[in-house]
Symmetry: C2
Subunit: 368 residues, 2 copies
């Protein structure tokens, strides 16, 4: 049985908490979406408040990344200014150029000189493979996409589904997209944003319901919808999974207002992959480029002691206990974000959405 | 005593072997240099022949990188099409966009669709910090630098010193730059290219000679030159090393025509860092972003058996013995490339070159 009280339920979305990554204080998110007869791709940018530090865990076999090395715990740089999630495969890494330019224009970044504007914005990035899905191979995000997504960033509302970096996404034969979820665990907020473009499926072909349903108020699908979904799944799943040139990816981040070390941010990212594994089957294939960033907003100590207490953090049992809860919540919110990405995606004539095949499960469900 | 026969001595540079990375068959190298009253930066691109596979080892505390995750041995993608080494700190990662565009225009890259031109070029990149050294903070490499360097790539000659990605380099208070070296070990070619922008120095302040002199025909410096160097070094070394915002880096690659697995390419990169450690002191500081790529051109089996011999490669003692020799050679050529980068750099009024301070050591030495 699922205890709904522990979730920020999406039906409360009008006011705080939204049940999204925006519940983390100081975070702003912007999409740039380009969808037409020849375009189907986009970029999503997460702008982080000052003091944010990050880690990363890359698990997929075919990742496309930028600025992940500096996030390793043994490297110096711990601050990050933004995360760029984009379509376009490796070409889409150029979206981060535009995010850097936007941040530089605001003098936001790592200071490297005597003058105020001399900054290097730290913008780790990951991409999904969506090339050619809009019809034209050369219609893919560039620096302007990153700049526009950064300029659009706000902390008021977050569109999910077929938008931004998730516009061109495909997940186990359904349209993929962007999802977000949050939880508060003992006062600490933990929230995720996922762009799901996976080889595997978030939907169980037998039940036609998501593998991960915790905290989601879904209805039992009608027999007709179940049959429709099963037929579709059998049609698409075999060729999709076996194709050697099929490149897919789930990318995203988990953030918390809890104060974490850089190494703990990497641990946060690592355990978030457990959520990916619960929500998507199969997961982490050699054709996936699964990459999750872990971010601490450095706001809230992970125990009741004041900051600067003389007790060693590592020896502090209550802190470890709360960090374990944060990790469990990280896996939960990432699993939920992956699932919502597919539930909230809108279908296309060539690529149905879950809502098209199993509408009966979504009666009363807040789609976007 | 140094056995000069084991080196490809630079005085033979007119014909093959050149004693540079160009001794590896199929490699082409291009620079784009921009140096004027307000510019001092550039980009160097190494174009690799079909079948090249790569690994990477990042050791510095402040790396700026792109597409390094896919090079990890447990990830699927092993082919790489080019390596982009650029100035501009993280901004300079955009140079790889231009290299990708150049390669795409030639239909070179990982094939991802039914049509011939649908390729994703795999272009790992690393950058050095040289921002503002030409006078203007916003004068730094962009995609056009990568495109121009790729277009200039050739297999005939390689300029070293203050050129391409090494144009804005500074190394231990001297002008840094680009160096390259090669060796043939039991028939297998091993060659390196290094861009040296290190916190540490390649020159021993006591002798005014490089820390690593194997295979270099240098003369004993005059007492006057030794004194001049020592005074300069004492002036510059303390503030350079202690500055918290001083960001430096040595980046480069080691390539071999020997057939290596992807994991062995990573090992090649790892042992090349030993060469960096021998040539530069201190090395691998938290302010360095030291990154070395390891590349196999997949041409020449590492033993005398024909390819397809039934013996397990790992069990093959003669292969392991030759791989160990290749690794030793990798450290040697990388150390030599680092040293040559500084010896061949030309000085500036604001930043002397080694040749300006210790000309007596370089009598008869081929500078470029």
């Amino acid at each position: 049985m699922v205890d709904l009280r522990r979730w920020n339920v999406p039906t409360l979305a009008k006011s705080w908490p939204q049940g999204t990554l925006l519940d983390c204080p100081g975070i702003r998110i912007g999409h740039h979406t380009r969808e037409s007869s020849t375009w189907r791709t986009g970029t999503t940018v997460v702008l982080l408040p000052p003091g944010a530090i990050g880690g990363v865990d890359v698990r997929g076999g075919a990742p496309g990344t930028r600025e992940t090395e500096l996030l390793r715990p043994d490297n110096m740089m711990d601050r990050i200014d933004a995360i760029c999630l984009s379509g376009g495969s490796a070409y889409g890494l150029s979206a981060a150029d535009g995010v850097m330019r936007f941040l530089e224009s605001k003098s936001i970044g790592f200071p490297v000189g005597r003058q105020d504007g001399w900054v290097v914005p730290i913008v780790p990035a990951a991409v999904i493979f969506d090339l050619g899905r809009g019809g034209r191979f050369d219609h893919r995000p560039d620096a302007e996409f990153g700049w526009r997504a950064a300029r659009a960033a706000n902390d008021r509302s977050l569109r999910q589904g077929s938008v931004g970096g998730g516009t061109g996404a495909r997940a186990g034969g359904l349209r993929g997209g962007i999802g977000s979820a949050s939880r508060v665990v003992r006062g600490t907020t933990v929230a995720a944003l996922a762009v799901v473009n996976s080889v595997g499926s978030v939907i169980d072909p037998d039940s036609a319901l998501p593998w991960f349903t915790d905290g989601l108020e879904l209805q039992a699908p009608t027999a007709r919808d179940r049959d429709r979904f099963r037929r579709h799944f059998e049609d698409v799943s075999r060729p999709l999974i076996s194709s050697a040139t099929s490149l897919n990816t789930t990318i995203g981040l988990v953030a918390t207002d809890g104060i974490l070390t850089k190494a703990e941010c990497q641990k946060l990212a690592a355990v978030s992959h457990d959520g990916l594994a619960r929500a998507i089957r199969p997961a982490h294939s050699m054709n996936d480029g699964d990459t999750i960033f872990g971010v601490s907003l450095s706001r809230r100590p992970l125990n009741d002691r004041p900051i600067g207490s003389s007790a060693s953090l590592l020896d502090d049992e209550s802190r470890t206990s709360l960090f374990n809860d944060v990790l469990e919540a990280a896996a939960d919110v990432f699993a939920r974000a992956c699932t919502l990405a597919v539930l909230r995606a809108s279908g296309l004539p060539s690529l149905p959405g879950y809502r098209d095949l199993v509408p009966s499960a979504l009666r009363g469900f807040p789609l976007n």
